[in-house]
């Protein structure tokens, strides 16, 4: 009788699909699911509940009666946003800068991780890793200040150029150099830190694969290409999808600190636009929320597309 019941239960578990499967898993691994509760609460309080504030995009905010009580204004805020030529320009500029980041900056930590992994002297490897990771902990204010000292007309680089009899370059005030400067400083500051996740993925690769490749006569390049890269591809896919989901966010701190009056025309990305509208004029939370909501929707759409694309190409999606 007991064996019959056990058989019935096993059949049910095997046949279960979707929610049923989740419920069965939850019953089976309930201790692990309990561990998830604090994180879940955090997300509900700090991520999902504040999303209710997005309704401000369709309201005229009245502080005294709060977000929920403020009167609806339909699509009035969006109409004002979409009518503004500078909004569309900032959207275009944000996408342009971020597509460039995707092509130039995204591979940088992967390459760095691969290079660091190839270092054979353990101590040297650790020193290098520390050196590359350190800039991540500097604020953009500091980085901008270092840049000014290095690249100004009487800075280190231009002084060196002058000493060599070469003409000086207006690095800080050139509109055409602004975008490359963003990429270079971003790589300098972030590549080391971002490479940690790839190094960790690399460290998880089964060493037998390398040994087998070595026995088969694979060169170092071939080992990287045929063993390391395929093994960290799932990590690359996930991070690529997440980066794509941030294409409408261009890094306010970096651009705010690096831009100046001479480069302002190429520096007004969406975040700078929101800042200008919000803090150099009267406060309009409805308008700002409308811009933010628009950005989030585009980001979400891009994320879903990238996720689907990754799966279609046989790669890994965000959810497996």
């Amino acid at each position: 009788m007991a064996a019959k019941a056990k058989e019935k239960k096993a059949v049910t578990a095997a046949q279960a699909t979707g929610l049923q499967k989740v419920a069965i898993n939850m019953r089976k691994y309930w201790q692990i699911y309990i561990l998830l509760i604090p994180a879940l609460i955090w997300y509900i309080i700090f991520a999902y509940y504040p999303m209710a504030g997005l309704q401000l995009a369709f309201k005229t905010y009245k502080a005294k009666i709060g977000i929920w009580g403020s009167p609806w204004c339909g699509f009035q805020n969006f109409e004002a946003v979409f009518r503004d030529m500078y909004f569309w320009r900032s959207v275009g500029r944000t996408l342009l800068i971020n597509f460039g980041r995707l092509i130039i900056n995204f591979p940088a930590p992967i390459l760095l991780a691969l290079m660091l992994n190839e270092l054979r002297v353990g101590k040297y490897k650790k020193v290098m890793q520390t050196v590359y990771t350190f800039p991540h902990f500097l604020s953009w204010v500091i980085v901008a200040s270092i840049m000014t000292n290095l690249l100004s007309i009487d800075g280190l680089v231009n002084s060196a150029l002058s000493a060599m009899g070469l003409s000086t370059v207006n690095f800080l005030g050139s509109e055409s150099l602004f975008q490359p400067m963003l990429y270079i400083t971003d790589i300098w500051k972030s590549a080391g830190y971002s490479s940690i996740i790839y190094l960790s993925a690399i460290s998880g690769i089964d060493q037998d694969q390398y040994e087998a490749a070595e026995i088969d006569g694979a060169t170092r390049w071939q080992r990287i290409w045929h063993v390391t890269l395929p093994n960290i591809l799932p990590t690359i896919s996930v991070l690529f999808i997440m980066t794509t989901g941030n294409l409408m966010t261009a890094g306010f701190d970096q651009i705010f600190n690096i831009s100046n009056a001479a480069t302002k025309n190429v520096a007004e990305v969406l975040d700078m636009y929101i800042y200008r509208i919000t803090f150099t004029a009267s406060t309009d939370f409805g308008f700002s929320t409308a811009v933010s909501l628009f950005r989030s929707i585009i980001n979400m759409t891009l994320l879903v597309i990238a996720n689907k694309g990754s799966k279609m190409m046989g790669g890994t999606g965000l959810f497996g």
């Binding site: 905010y61 005294k64 500078y86 009056a261 803090f279 406060t283 309009d284 308008f287």
Partner: protein
């Protein structure tokens, strides 16, 4: 010492007469002081450097009484200890504003109050104040950088406290001081109640019959002489046109004395353009009402002179007269090049006594030169000799109170403000502790004893005296004109410059355009921009200037035109 007594006597007389000059309706057409006869000066505080340009001194005067004396205020019952939260800029983080200073303890002990202070910076001031107000979570007392669009909204929603009926009678000294800036009366009428206490820049000591901006051009006159450029007439009048200024720099460069004679920040370039163009910006904009009664946008009007001024400065930039990366300079980099590195011949700077003294001290220390022997200050004008600016509203930022302030806190705070506006209060704020930092001699004259104690200024002795009391309501600029802490030479220079500026300013006999100043709309928000950055961008742009400028104007007009349409519909009066 004798001169100190004289200053002190003058100051006491001025203070006695001053509030009355603000009070009395009969005296409104007279300036509070004859700037020519004062030995005035200014201190260097952030408040001053941000002070807006000027207004006529006789505007906005309410009839009020000062029946309530300082003694009356001090005789009130303050037995219940009270803690008042305060948020403001210019507060030093970590400094104890309640204890450790005889100066400060008098206030906290007499009024039985403890300050709970939140320090704001210029960077986070606007953002944090707007966040707190919109969260309906204001500290008891805050200093707010007034913006008309938000102000109307906040008053309408009751997010800031409206003064109860009878406050002017209850606190007449404060009410009298409030009349020194026309903004208080204007916005009280506009919003149907007193929500914002606009803090007067000048209340007791007006530097001239028309208050003007103190921003001046600091220039090396010795280099002009060396380069063979004659500045004699300019030195006489302390004025220089933009054309002359560029010629002066060219002469210095041609003589090989400086690589880049002019070092200035992007913001200062904007101010230079304001001074020489016919539509100096109102609150950072460039809208103005023309003779046709309609509103215009300065950059789009040839007659405003903005384009020509920009063309001249662009020429100076391309010709290597202006530091090539001026847009990267941060205050006080520009001044440093003038008085420390010595590789700048000119820079725009606050024309205050403290700055003159600072330049003198730094030039002596770093260059072994005397500022007074080698340099002078000039008012930048257009080619007609006019220095352009908007009529001032004579205020800088405003005090606001939490709508949830209870009666006890309200009464205590208002009493403190009221006392601070009395003659006795002002003496205590500006001169320090009576019988310690200053005293009356046998002739009843004030004698300042700070120097005997080894201090040059009150701020040096009492680090914490600023800003809670110093800028409690009447700003410190007001007293600085007679502050004996600065050299006589510097004070005299400031007074002289104010007098000269008042004679050539375009704002003379002009009233502020309140319609424009108090206007707000979504279109205006969308058209907001930092004009000095826009101008700097045009200056640094390569290619044909006219093409770049016209392109910029046509580009901006898409967002400017809706604002002009709104303004003209509301306030335009086409003839």
């Amino acid at each position: 010492m004798k001169s100190r007594k004289l200053f002190a006597l003058l100051m006491a007389a001025m203070m006695a007469a001053s509030l009355a000059s603000c009070n009395s309706a009969e005296e409104t057409s007279e300036p509070a002081e004859d700037p020519g006869s004062t030995t005035s000066s200014e201190s260097s505080t952030p408040a001053e450097s941000s002070t807006p340009a000027s207004t006529k001194t006789d505007s906005g005067v309410l009839a009020a009484t000062t029946d309530v004396t300082a003694e009356d205020i001090l005789a009130r019952d303050y037995s219940e200890p009270i803690t008042i939260s305060f948020a403001g800029i210019q507060v030093t983080d970590g400094l104890d504003y309640n204890h450790g200073s005889e100066y400060y303890e008098w206030w906290t002990e007499t009024f039985n109050v403890t300050w709970d202070i939140t320090s704001l910076t210029f960077d986070n001031w606007v953002e944090r104040m707007n966040t707190w107000i919109n969260a309906d979570d204001l500290p008891d007392w805050s200093v707010w950088n007034f913006t008309p669009g938000d102000a109307a909204n906040y008053a309408d929603q009751g997010l800031v406290m409206e003064m109860p009926d009878g406050w002017k009678e209850e606190y007449p000294n404060l009410a009298a001081a409030a009349t020194c800036t026309p903004a208080n009366e204007y916005y009280e009428n506009l919003y149907g109640g007193m929500y914002y206490f606009f803090r007067p820049v000048f209340a007791n000591n007006f530097p001239a019959d028309t208050i003007t901006s103190h921003i001046s051009l600091f220039m090396r006159t010795d280099l002009a002489e060396e380069a063979g450029y004659d500045l004699t007439e300019n030195i006489e009048t302390n004025t220089i046109s933009l054309t002359e200024f560029i010629e002066y720099m060219q002469a210095i460069k041609d003589a090989g004395l400086m690589e880049y004679p002019w070092y200035d920040l992007s913001g200062s370039i904007g101010q230079a353009i304001d001074r020489v163009s016919g539509c100096a910006g109102v609150l950072g904009s460039a809208y103005y009402k023309g003779d046709d009664g309609m509103y215009h946008w300065g950059p789009a009007e040839e007659s405003s002179g903005i384009k020509e001024a920009l063309r001249q400065i662009k020429g100076a930039y391309d010709g290597g007269l202006l530091y090539p990366e001026f847009y990267t300079l941060q205050e006080p980099d520009d001044a440093g090049h003038f008085y420390a590195a010595g590789d700048a011949a000119a820079t725009m700077e606050s024309g205050m006594a403290a700055y003159f003294d600072r330049y003198e001290q730094n030039m002596q220390q770093n260059l072994g030169l005397s500022f007074w022997d080698t340099s002078d200050v000039f008012i930048l004008t257009d080619d007609e000799g006019i220095s352009h600016e908007q009529p001032s509203t004579n205020y800088w930022a405003c005090n606001i109170l939490s709508p949830y302030l209870d009666e006890a806190k309200y009464e205590r705070l208002m009493s403190i403000w009221d006392y601070g506006c009395t003659e006795e209060g002002q003496l205590r704020i500006r001169l320090g502790v009576p019988d310690v930092d200053w005293k009356y001699d046998e002739n009843g004259e004030i004698v300042v004893t700070l120097e005997e104690q080894g201090y040059a200024t009150l701020e040096e002795k009492y680090t914490s005296c600023y800003p809670i009391t110093g800028n409690m309501f009447i700003l410190s600029d007001d007293y600085s004109f007679i502050n004996p802490g600065f050299t006589k030479q510097a004070r005299d220079k400031v007074a002289d410059m104010y007098t000269k500026r008042a004679e050539i300013t375009s704002s003379r006999d002009q009233e502020p355009d309140w319609d424009l100043l108090s206007y707000s709309s979504q279109a205006l928000n969308l058209a907001s921009m930092t004009y000095s950055d826009e101008y700097s961008n045009i200056i640094t742009k390569s290619g044909d200037f006219d093409t770049n400028y016209d392109q910029w104007v046509s580009d901006k007009m898409s967002m400017i035109q809706p604002v002009l349409d709104e303004l003209n519909e509301a306030f335009g009066s086409a003839e």
